[in-house]
Structure formats: structure tokens, C-alpha cells
């Protein structure tokens, strides 16, 4: 039972495993409660500051605003990136995907300046920077998924009498949708970290990033920790939502994984 937790690749019962996780978390919290570090705020301070943030600063609303912006940007970026990567089937469009993927190396600061010149409102600048940032990462991930297509898979579709386009649709588009969702999940973290940064550049819009920035500036260490924990928890939750989506819509996708 307990020794299962220390055997390689063992499969402890879910109950046992969850209890173990709960114990580990409780242990960390207790450690924090009874052995406060210098400088680092205590658990009590963080909880108090969390309450304060929620009641006076509208933490929940700001979080919601950031989340919806991030999801909106992610939606648009996903559509764009899918288009660009699927178009790599046509040699004519391959340079676009290549270029898009290399744009990962551009820094945001130079970019925001250009975006500000191009679009009018602060919200749009924010959104377009996020979309750009996400798209270039998504294209990178998605094209590499497409490149995992094997000769055998394509030949299989062709021998069934499918045209080149139909084979591509069947094998690459339908066959790899689950992996595309996984790419989106992995890269959502990039948007989620980028948005806090962008919000400090365009302060008119508020958002969780601006809140964090203010706490930082006034040296509210407890507030900073509280917000960081919230950001972390939201991110983890999003991960679970994506996992859930994947399991619901693509039940076949985890059949091969080692259990």
C-alpha cells in the first residue's frame, strides 16, 4: 500500500495518492506557519492581505478581466496558428510558418511600440501583443506536431482512395486535433505570464498584473505573495480544464500512454 509510493511506475489507488498529496501540502503549510522565514511574509499576513485585496481592491474582478482577455487572445491566436500551420501543406505558404515561428525571438518591448502606432485603444494594443506572442509559439508547436505525420499514415489514407486533400484532412487535421489541443494547453501558460507583464505597460485597463505591480511598488510583500499564489492557482486550474476537454473530446488520445 504505502510502499507503492516508492516503486517505479507503480499505480497507487487514487485515494491513497490524493491523501499523500494532501499531506504534502499540509506539511508545507505547517512549515510555513511555524517556521516563518525572515523577510518572507507569514501565512497569517498573506491570508489577511488576500482578504483585503478581495474586499477593497476588487481582486476577483481584476482576475476575471485578465482571464477573459487572455482567453480571447488565445482563441484568436489558436485560429490563426492552426491556419498558418495547416497551410504548410502548400509549399507556397511554408515560409510564412517558418517566419512566424522564428518571431519568438522578438522582444515584447519593441513590439508594443509598433502595435501602439498601429491600433488606437490600449485594450487593442494589449490584445494584439498577446495574440502575436501566442501565435508565434503556437505555430512552432503545431508545425512540429504536423511534422510527426508518418509516411505510413499518409499512404494508408491514400490507398483508401482518398485524394491528397482528403488524406491531409483525415490524417493531419482530424488525426492530430488532440495533439493540437495539447499544444494550446502548454502555450496558454505563455499568455498567462505575458498578460501580467503587458498589463503593467498599459495601466488604463487594470487587471491582475497591474494589481501585482502596485503591490510590488508599495513593497506589500504579503500582497505580492497572495497575488502570485492566485495566479499560480488559476494557471493550474486552466491546465485541468484543458486536460478535461481533451479527455472529453478525444477519448482515444491517452490510450497509448504508459499507465
Amino acid at each position: 500500500m504505502l510502499k507503492d509510493l516508492f516503486v517505479p511506475n507503480a499505480k497507487p489507488r487514487p485515494g491513497v495518492f490524493l491523501t499523500m498529496v494532501a499531506c504534502q501540502v499540509a506539511f508545507l503549510l505547517l512549515l510555513w506557519l511555524f517556521y516563518p522565514l525572515q523577510l518572507f511574509p507569514t501565512l497569517g499576513e498573506v491570508v489577511a492581505s488576500f482578504k483585503d485585496l478581495v474586499t477593497t481592491q476588487g481582486l476577483i474582478q481584476e482576475l476575471w478581466a485578465s482571464l477573459t482577455t487572455a482567453l480571447g487572445a488565445l482563441g484568436i491566436a489558436t485560429v490563426l496558428a492552426l491556419l498558418i500551420s495547416y497551410l504548410t501543406a502548400l509549399p507556397f505558404f511554408r515560409p510564412i510558418a517558418y517566419a512566424a515561428s522564428k518571431m519568438r525571438y522578438l522582444t515584447l518591448t519593441g513590439l508594443t511600440f509598433f502595435m501602439a502606432l498601429m491600433v488606437s485603444s490600449g485594450h487593442q494594443v494589449k490584445l494584439s501583443v498577446l495574440i502575436f506572442g501566442a501565435t508565434v509559439y503556437l505555430v512552432t508547436g503545431m508545425t512540429s506536431v504536423i511534422l510527426t505525420t508518418t509516411q505510413e499514415e499518409m499512404d494508408h489514407a491514400r490507398t483508401l482512395g482518398m485524394s491528397e486533400w482528403r488524406s491531409f484532412y483525415e490524417v493531419v487535421v482530424l488525426g492530430k486535433l488532440d495533439e493540437m489541443l495539447e499544444v494550446v494547453r502548454q502555450n496558454f501558460a505563455i499568455i498567462w505570464t505575458m498578460i501580467t507583464l503587458v498589463e503593467t505597460l498599459y495601466q488604463s485597463e487594470g487587471g491582475i498584473g497591474l494589481l501585482l505591480y502596485k503591490q510590488n511598488r508599495y513593497l506589500h510583500l504579503a500582497g505580492v505573495v497572495a497575488i502570485q499564489l492566485i495566479i499560480l492557482a488559476t494557471g493550474a486550474l486552466q491546465d485541468y480544464v484543458f486536460e478535461f476537454l481533451r479527455r472529453t473530446f478525444f477519448p482515444y488520445s491517452e490510450l497509448r500512454a504508459a499507465k
Binding site: 499512404d155 490507398t159 482512395g161 488532440d178
Partner: protein, 274 residues
Amino acid sequence: MTDFSYKEPILTLRDISMQFGGEVILRDISLDVLNVVRPGLSQGQVVGFYGRSGIGKSVLCRIIAGLLPPTTGTVLVADPPRPVCPGDVGFVQQRYPLFDHRTLLDNLLVAAGRKHAPAEAKARAEDFLTRFDLAPHRRKYPAQLSGGQRQRAAIAQQLLCSEHLIILDEPFSGLDIAMIDEVKKIILEVTTLDELNTVVIVSHDLATTTALSDTLWLLGPERDAAGQCLAGATISKQHQYNLAQMGLAWQPGIQARPEFVQLIEHLKDEIRKT
């Protein structure tokens, strides 16, 4: 002796050779599969295709299926003959690929739907599910099937949408006796369904395959006058066996006949030599 004659070509290989980055795999392969006619029957063709592992059988199959352009030469199919295109020839690949994102039933339906109206496609898919013992597994994904189940599913998928020509790359390996019988029965059924139906069977199981076939191909290296092996394998004239002319085709229970046993021994020797 059974009465038969030959008519128009169904599959023609002209001077096929294949190199991968300078390594010669196949050389000077020229063959015809002719429509064999038996009075009062619609008799299709069965070709048994042998050769050592790694000699180039699967490569030649991909060339015949139009999936791999040969370095030189052409493959002609249909009547009047024209160069092969992907999709003209059904091909069950050696590793039995299926669409992993579709259930077993969906895999069959998508294939059947290429040639038949939905209701008809459904009926045909169901028929194959029962015959291949796959009916209880229809909702499973390919990753949940056993090796043999995958194999039967892949064969069924090709049979559901193929035209006259179909290549089976190792259809018997990994199947139990009952399932080998079922696959044999289906091959016989396919080849007696239409005059033009032609099945090429790549196999290491000489007895099973030879008993089904009316033609054999043996792919192997050739020696020149000095006895040196030439680079690349070919199917020479003496390695194309016409079992119909030898009186060894289309006979149930042929496996017990001494001529048949002799032929198998001869084939084994020839394969060992290569």
C-alpha cells in the same frame, strides 16, 4: 487438367528499378498479370509473392500501389492500361495502420463510404465485423485492439473500398488457425467475385499462400555469368511460376499432393539460395 486461357493484362510492371541514395534495392523487374479466364466461372487472379526478409517486397508493393515512384520503369493498371495512381490499388501495409482517432466501426464506415451509399456502406461494414469476429469490439479505438484484430480490421478496411487490385503485405502472420481460414476464405471469395479481381499476397507462409495462388513471384538477387551476385533483387523469368500451367491451381486439398509438396521444397531451396 482444368481448362483456362489468358486475356488482357490487369497489372503490368515495366523495367522497374529502385534505388535509395545509391543503394540498389530492386532491378529490372518486368511482369504481367493477365486476366485468367475459366469457362463458366468468374475466376480472379491470386499471386503469391515470396522473398527473404529485407529483400524489397514491401518496397515493390508500395511501387505497385503507386505510393512510391520507382527510379526507373512504370506500373500500368486498368483497361486500357494507364500509369497507376494512389488509390487504384488497395494495399494493406505490413504494420496494419488504421485511423487511430476513429473507432473500429468508424474506420470501416469511412472506407465503405468511399464506394457505397451510407445504408449500403453500413450493411457491408457490419457484415465484415461479424465475419472477422470484430462485432463486440466495434466501439473500441485501434489502440485498444489486439494485433490480430487490428490486422483483420485493416484487411476489412481495404476490401471495403478497393477496386480490382489489392495487395496484402503479410496477411497471415500473427493470426490463429481459425482466422487464417477466414482470411483464406475471404481471399477466395474476393477472387471469385469478379473476373478482374486480383490479390497479391506477400507472405513467408509458403504452404498456405501457394495453395491459394495461381502465380508465384520469387524476389531474389541474380548472379551474373561469373557467379557474382548483382546488386539489387529482381524477379527473374525462372522465378515466375505459373501454377495454372503446372496443374497446381484452383484445387481444394492440393496441399496433400506430392507435386505440391515437391514445389514447396523447391521454393524453400530457392529462397535459401538467395
